[in-house]
Amino acid sequence: MENATMNRAMFKRRLGKTAKYTMLLILALIIIFPFVLGLWTSFLPSMDIAKGALWSSHLSLNNYVAAFTQTKILQYLLNSLIISTLVMFAHVFFCSLGAYAFVFLKFKYRDQLFYAVLATMMLPFEAEVIPNFVTVKCLGLLNHYSVMVIPFLTSAFGIFMLRQAFLQIPRDLKEAADVDGLNHWQFYWRVTLPYAKISLFTLAAYSFLGSWNQYLWPMLTTFSDHLRPVQDGLRQLQSEETFNDWDMIQASAAIVVIPTLIVLFIGQHYFKSGLNEGAVK
């Protein structure tokens, strides 16, 4: 009697576990299926792709060779890497300086200025492209790396986020530093930045990805292949290809996505802890 109920409980638990794993597997498959299919077709010969075949006896790296030699995909990747890296460092630097001013400096109209900066968080960049396009045209920045860097050197979001982080720095530290004769630059550099390391990393990741994913702005402001970042490069390839010529496109997409996935999986640990910290506050 007792044995039977115990068996049933165990059976139920095992069934529950199987159901859970099945559900997890189904969800995981839905998430990664587009990747897997894209990567898989990048190894198929274009003949088979055009027939809609999912299997071929001629798997090869030919599409990759074609993508590397016949398209500018490496140049696009390099452009994006340069632009996003510049944006990332500048963004963290200028936002942290601004946030420092709002937390540790006393000056006239500080709160008013802060609210003005905060208000710009509400304004979408997409609604401002028309005058911004005219501005960069007048400044002679069109079709240049700097046009994809300069407008994104700072942001209200970054300043706001780092201000929240800097507010958690104990006031005693600042008083101690004052007594010790540290000026603001020294306190910023030696105490504030190390103290808010996780928030800085989070903002760095955020701004790098933001720049990497820019689409509309580079599309409007760059026209040459040797400057084009990767999103617009893929757009270019996609529009140049004839309709069913998918081999090189899939290989190019794979070339773009594989490094980001590797970085994502490696950086995940840091990213997760940074996000959790941000969510708690």
């Binding site: 990747f35 936002c95 996505v257 959790n276």
Partner: protein
């Protein structure tokens, strides 16, 4: 090391050669110099950011607002002041209202589906099972996919002749679907792709929220004999509702700004069925040269997004569980 400094400084004057007098003389001077310093540093630290925000955020907003009150020539220069005529004209024009409606469908569809599936993924990944780390990693994967790559992967799947979706449909004996060339299905296609793109980040936010729900609450509920469904509705959901709200707002805003996906997958078509607000602005300004109308549309978009953000600020400031 720094924390220990104040105490040592305090004790020093009494043991030094000039007791008492020195700190009294020095402190007003020091604080005066500090304040003067502050102003100088404020310019130095905040100057670059304020300059950039002025050029690329404040000025263009005012300029867009200004242009929306005028008619413009081919170069985007204002010609005739028309007041609010542009707005009245737009809000009465059928194509614009259709675009507004399509955007609403898209935005609501993307936000609600992203929340439901993101929460489902997070709840499934929040279990204690062997190998769960593997699934957690998989669930964040779409964070590493940019808009162009997503569009290419899904365009391939939605392809009418060689796409895997139609192959499956035909395998079950149904007619293939012209995914991107039928108005309704094109909307479905861009919503599905957008939800897929948003899932990785949403999962991460929900997962973090679920992990931070105190375990003691569930233990107490277990003791009281509450079912797991009851626990989900009465403990989990209320506890994570701030995150849910945050996710809703950022997904809404991000969906309102969708451009790349539309440009790559449908180019606003078929018959303007997926001609969302930002894509319309782009077409009106940079393809049709109608800068006044594009500026008016930009201001309307800015107002919509500002309203959503304001609600978020208000509710975040209260920081209550809804």
């Amino acid at each position: 090391m720094l924390e220990s400094l104040p105490s040592t400084k305090k004790t020093q004057p009494t043991s030094s050669h000039e007791p008492q007098a020195q700190p009294q003389v020095k402190s007003p001077v020091a604080s005066f110099e500090l304040r003067k310093n502050d102003k100088y540093y404020a310019w130095l630290f905040l100057g670059p950011s304020l300059l950039l925000l002025s050029i690329f955020v404040f000025y263009p907003m005012l300029r867009t607002l200004y242009l929306s009150l005028f008619l413009t020539d081919n170069f985007g220069e204002p010609t005739v002041f028309v007041g609010l005529q542009n707005y009245l004209h737009l809000l009465k024009s059928a194509p614009y209202l259709a675009s507004l409606k399509a955007t609403t469908t898209y935005v609501v569809g993307v936000a609600s589906l992203t929340i439901v599936f993101g929460l489902l993924l997070a709840a499934m990944a929040n279990q204690k099972l062997r190998g769960i780390e593997f699934f957690r990693t998989i669930f964040t994967a779409t964070m590493g996919v940019s808009v162009s790559v997503s569009a290419i992967f899904w365009l391939f799947m939605f392809n009418p002749t060689i796409g895997v979706l139609n192959q499956v449909i035909m395998f079950f004996g149904h007619q293939p679907i012209a995914w991107l060339t039928t108005p309704g299905w094109a909307m479905v296609a861009v919503i599905v792709t957008s939800v897929w793109m948003h899932l990785g980040f949403t999962f991460l936010l929900f997962f973090g929220a679920l992990q931070s729900v105190p375990k003691s609450l569930y233990d107490a509920a277990d003791v009281a004999g509450a079912s797991s469904r009851y626990q989900f509705w009465h403990i989990t959901l209320p506890m994570i509702s701030p995150t849910m709200f945050f996710v809703a707002v950022i997904t809404l805003i991000s969906a309102f700004k969708s451009f790349g996906l539309i440009d790559l997958m449908t180019a606003g078509g078929p018959t303007n069925a997926t001609n969302l607000l930002v894509y319309r602005i782009y077409k009106d300004a940079f393809m049709n040269g109608n800068y006044a109308q594009a500026s008016t549309e930009s201001i309307i978009l800015a107002i919509i997004i500002a309203l959503i953000t304001l609600i978020q600020f208000k509710l975040l400031a209260k920081r209550v569980n809804y």
